[in-house]
Amino acid sequence: MAQTVGFFTDTTLCIGCKACEVACKEWNQLPNNPLEFRDSYDNTGQLDHANWRHVRFVESAATNPDKPIAWSMMSDVCKHCANASCLEVCPTDAIIRTEFDTVYIQQDVCNGCRDCISACPYGVIGFNSTSGTAQKCTFCYDRLQNNLKPACATACPTQSIKFGPLDELRQTAATRLATLQAQGVSQARIYGDKEYGGLHAFFLITEKPEAYALPSTQSAVLPSRNNLPGYVTATITAVLAGLAGLIAFRRRGEPPAAQTPPSGT
């Protein structure tokens, strides 16, 4: 098996240039976004079938009165979770784990049922109505197979997006976190070392996870958690319904009904 790889995105280095978005679209030949004005420099909006990288502009109130808005930029992407919700629910096995330990949707197998879309807690997967399939970041699977870095990490001018062996990236992130905290950025933290068994695309963030549309560690739960309680409730209902049927339909020892002519069935 090839080496497990990952992305480490350091949001403190992101300048919001969107080079990653452009490189991703260009390499993967993703369609352009329709022109749309929003209340922000974020005119991508969200990750979906045509946007596999999305530079999020997280706005918050700043302490400096001259600059009332503070921005935290984050280049968002599929997290390639170790325990992936999408992969768990996919009924056709279209979603697989590659030799690089990334999560990949086989476009020739996906039948467009969209179960993965309702499962992904990060809102990463989108439905492409042209191909009729679910689509998301492939971790540039074709580039990995040819010993190339993913397009986004190659294009990032500030090295906010780092690509490499996952173990090495975790060490790099720990070192960077220690440096920032020593500099007084006490709110800095790593997101993705515990969530979903460890994300293969993880982040250094300076706000609460929810501010970046990332579920908290407590909320990072798999869809299958509801299998047992769901079936147990259904089973109890079935037993009660069976009892209801037994009471309602039981033989009551009533006299047989008068002979009636057959009426067709």
Partner: protein
Amino acid sequence: MPNEHFVVPPHWEWYILGYFFFAGISGGSYVLGSMLRLWGDARDAAASRIAFLISFPTLLICPILLTLDLGQPLRFWHFLINDSSGGLAFKPWSPMSLGAWALLLFGIFSFVMFLSALSEGGIVHRRALATAASFVAGVVGGIFMVIGALFGLFIAAYTGVLLAVSNQPVWSDTWALGGLFLASALSGSAACVLLATRTRRDAIATDRKLIEADRYFILLELALIVLFLATLGGVLSKVLTGGWIILWVIVLAGTLIPLALHWRATRMRATVTAVGTAAADISLLAPVLVLLGVLALRAVVIFSAQA
């Protein structure tokens, strides 16, 4: 406390609503037909046959709706066969995978019971039908029918579990949906059979029993609606705002009014030997309201979570 996720909606809409409705009616009708055979008497045979005659045609609609909803309809068979390995695509922890298999297997049970009902009712005279009828009449046939009823229960219930096994707000915040959809499906199926038997003199005795059963199913459904709403916590407002209120009114009208009408019909029949016109009116209104309620319940659950 509900989990906070940032899921986008899968856009499961009208086809899925139709599928959930007909799957419930199909599975529920089969279960009712089986219960009438197991626990009823000779006078319930006509209603039991009708239940099986409802189950299979409504089941046939299900794969059509499911397939139409797919982005790649011609790949519907990928639910069953793994296109990469050529082996079976079976994931017991994925309700959608389980459901696809259950739908296929339930089809066999439902089809055989349908053939048997056709033969027993004298609708069609063919050797194959007579064979099915004689098979069902035996001990092995009885076991076959009961196994089919278990599949029927699953088909009627799993659609709720399918929604819950996600990270979608509302759906994944409750464990009550499987039970709720099952209770509602049984109530809707009883309504369907009541509608089909209301003009048949040979089913009058069963009519009364079906009304009693429907009353229990509705009570079960109401209890599960309360549980469903109680388990939603912070996302309760998603299902109880705006236009969804109208659907909830239909749900309540489809449970409380039939409950009252059933109670009245039971009282009338206890005092009047012949079925009067008032009772006949009631026997049309109550099942129609129940069926509308079954549809509205699924609609509010499916659409409100994705709004």
